[in-house]
Amino acid sequence: MFEKVTFEKWVYYMDELIVPSIWVTIKMLGQVMCLSLFLGFVLAMILAWCSPNGLRPRPWLYKILSFVVNVVRSFPILILIIALYPVTRFLVGTTIGPQAAVVPLTVSATQFLARLFESALLQTDKQLIEAARSFGASNRQILFRVMLKEAVPSIVSGITLTTISYIAASTIAGAVGAGGIGSVAINYGYQSFNDAILYTAVVILCIMVQITQWIGNVIYQKVL
C-alpha cells in the first residue's frame, strides 16, 4: 500500500495531477473573486448608503440586507456548499466540478467582501463628509469621490484577506467534488495514503497564500 515515491514518480504526479489542479484552483478562485468583487461592491455601496450612519439612512432596508448577509455568514463554508446544491444545479446544471463550486463560494465571498467594504467606506471621517456636503457635493459624489477614494487602502487589504480566505475555502470545496488542488490533496493524497502528493499540495497552497499576500502588500503600499 505504501509505495516508495521516487523523484520520477513525483515528477509524474506533478505533471499529471498537481500542476493541472493548480490551474483549476486559480481559475476557480479568479472567477469567484471577480464575481464576488462586483457583487460585494454593489452590496457594500447599498449598505453604506442606507446604513444608520450612512449617507441617507434607510433603517428597514438596511436591517433586511444586514439580516440576509448575517444568515449567509453564519453558514460554515462546507455546509453552505451543500445547502446551495439546488441553486447551483439550477444555475450551472451540475453540483460537481469547479464550475459548480463557483456558485456557493461566490455567495459566501460576496457577503464577506460586502461587510469589509461597508466598514471601510463607513470609516471615512464624518467631518470629511460634512466638508464635502458644505461645498455642495451630492451623496453620490460623496460616495465615489470621497468615501471610496479614502477607503482604497482598506479595500485593497480587504481583497487580499478575502483572496487568501477563499484559497482555503476552495480546498474545502475540493472535499465535496469541486476539483482543484484541494481535492487532489484529499483524494489522491490523504485518502490514498500518498504523503508525497498531500504535502506537495500543502506546500503549493502555502506558496499561493504567500504570493497573494505579497502582491496585496505591494499594491497596498502603492495606493497608501
Binding site: L128, E130, A131, S134, F135, G136, A137, V146, K149, E150
Partner: protein, 319 residues
C-alpha cells in the same frame, strides 16, 4: 446679510438652539463664542443648511434657508464656504486635487479649475505645496489648503468652525490674519465659531456669546469686552480683580478715541481730587484699541467724577 429670527433646533428631546435671533451684516467678521455644548457649531451648520432648523426664520442674502429643497440647498451651499477644526482634507489626494474637488463636483472645465486652484494657492501663500499630500503638511498649511478649497466656488460667506483650535497660537494667528486679509480683499462675510476669546477680541468686529442654546449677549466686540457682561465672565472663567471695600469702585471704559488720551489724570487735576488706580490697560481689538481703568474714589467724590465723565462722553460703571 444673515438674518436669524427665533430659531429653534432640537435633536430628539434635546433642544440645542432655543430661540436664536441674530443679524450678521455683510462683510463683517462675526464671532460666535461659547463653551462646549452651547450650540454654536449647530447654529453655524444651520446657516449653510447642513442642519435643518425646526422653527424660526433664517435668511441668507434674502434666501429663506429652511424652504430650500435638497437640490436647491446643494446649489445654495456654493455661496458658503466652510472650514473645520480638523481641516477635513482627503489624505489620498494631493493639495491640488483637494482644492480642485469642489469645482470637479460642480463640473467646471479643466482649464478653469487649473487657473483657480493656482490662484487660490497663491492667495493662501503655499503655492509650492501644490503637489504635496496633506500628510506632508503642517497643521497651519493644512488649514490654508482647506481655506483655498472653501474659496473655490467664490462664496460670499465663509464659516469657520473652531478653525484655529487645533493649531498652536502663533500658527493660529497667521491663519486669522489670512482670514482677515480675505475679508478685506474679497469682501467675504466671515463667521468664526470659537471658544478662544483672544480670537474674538482681536479678529471679530462683532460678537455673540452663546450659553445653553441662547444668545446671552452680543454687540460690537470692544463694547462687549468693555462692558464685561456676566456671559463673558462665565466664558473667561476668572474673577479678575480684588476690590477694596471702602469707597466707590468705578470702572471707566475708554473707547477707541480715548484709549491713549490722558483723560484720567486730567480728571484728577481738574476736579482736584485723589483716587486709587486699581487696574488699567489698553487692549487691541478688531482694528481698534480700547482701554479700561478701575479706580477707587471716596464716596463724596463719586458724583463729581460721574458728571465729569458724562460731560466728556465717557462710559463708566460703578462696581
Amino acid at each position: 446679510m444673515i438674518e436669524i429670527n427665533n430659531l429653534h433646533k432640537s435633536y430628539g428631546s434635546n433642544e440645542v438652539l432655543k430661540g436664536i435671533s441674530l443679524i450678521v451684516p455683510t462683510g463683517s467678521i462675526y464671532g460666535l463664542a461659547g463653551g462646549s455644548g452651547a450650540g454654536k457649531s449647530t447654529l453655524l451648520r444651520c446657516v449653510n443648511a447642513l442642519e435643518k432648523i425646526d422653527s424660526g426664520i433664517l435668511t441668507v442674502d434674502g434666501v429663506d434657508v429652511s424652504k430650500l429643497s435638497e437640490k436647491d440647498s446643494r446649489t445654495f451651499r456654493k455661496n458658503i464656504g466652510m472650514i473645520f477644526q480638523n481641516f477635513s482634507l482627503l489624505s489620498r489626494m494631493t493639495v491640488y486635487e483637494n482644492v480642485a474637488l469642489p469645482m470637479r463636483c460642480w463640473g467646471y472645465k479643466r482649464k478653469e479649475i487649473d487657473k483657480t486652484v493656482k490662484e487660490l494657492l497663491e492667495l493662501v501663500e503655499i503655492p509650492e505645496k501644490i503637489y504635496s499630500r496633506p500628510a506632508e503638511l503642517s497643521g497651519g498649511q493644512k488649514q490654508r489648503v482647506a481655506i483655498a478649497r472653501a474659496l473655490t466656488l467664490n462664496p460670499r460667506i465663509l464659516l469657520c468652525d473652531e478653525a484655529t483650535s487645533a493649531l498652536d497660537p502663533r500658527v493660529g494667528k497667521s491663519i486669522l490674519s489670512l482670514l482677515n486679509d480675505i475679508n478685506q480683499r474679497l469682501g467675504i462675510t466671515i463667521i468664526i465659531v470659537t471658544h478662544q476669546m483672544s480670537v474674538i477680541r482681536k479678529y471679530c468686529s462683532s460678537v455673540a456669546i452663546m450659553e445653553q442654546g441662547r444668545i446671552a449677549d452680543f454687540g460690537a466686540t470692544d463694547q462687549v469686552f468693555l462692558r464685561e457682561p456676566q456671559a463673558l465672565k462665565n466664558l473667561i472663567g476668572e474673577e479678575k480683580y480684588v476690590l477694596p471695600e471702602t469707597g466707590k469702585n468705578i470702572k471707566i471704559l475708554l473707547p477707541d478715541t480715548f484709549a491713549k488720551s490722558t483723560v484720567i489724570t486730567e480728571m484728577a487735576r481738574e476736579l482736584s481730587i485723589n483716587f486709587l488706580i486699581l487696574e488699567g490697560g489698553i487692549e487691541v481689538y478688531y482694528m481698534k484699541e480700547a482701554g479700561n481703568m478701575i479706580i477707587n474714589a471716596k464716596e463724596e467724590d463719586t458724583e463729581k467724577i460721574g458728571s465729569y465723565l458724562k460731560n466728556r462722553g465717557i462710559q463708566f460703571l460703578e462696581l
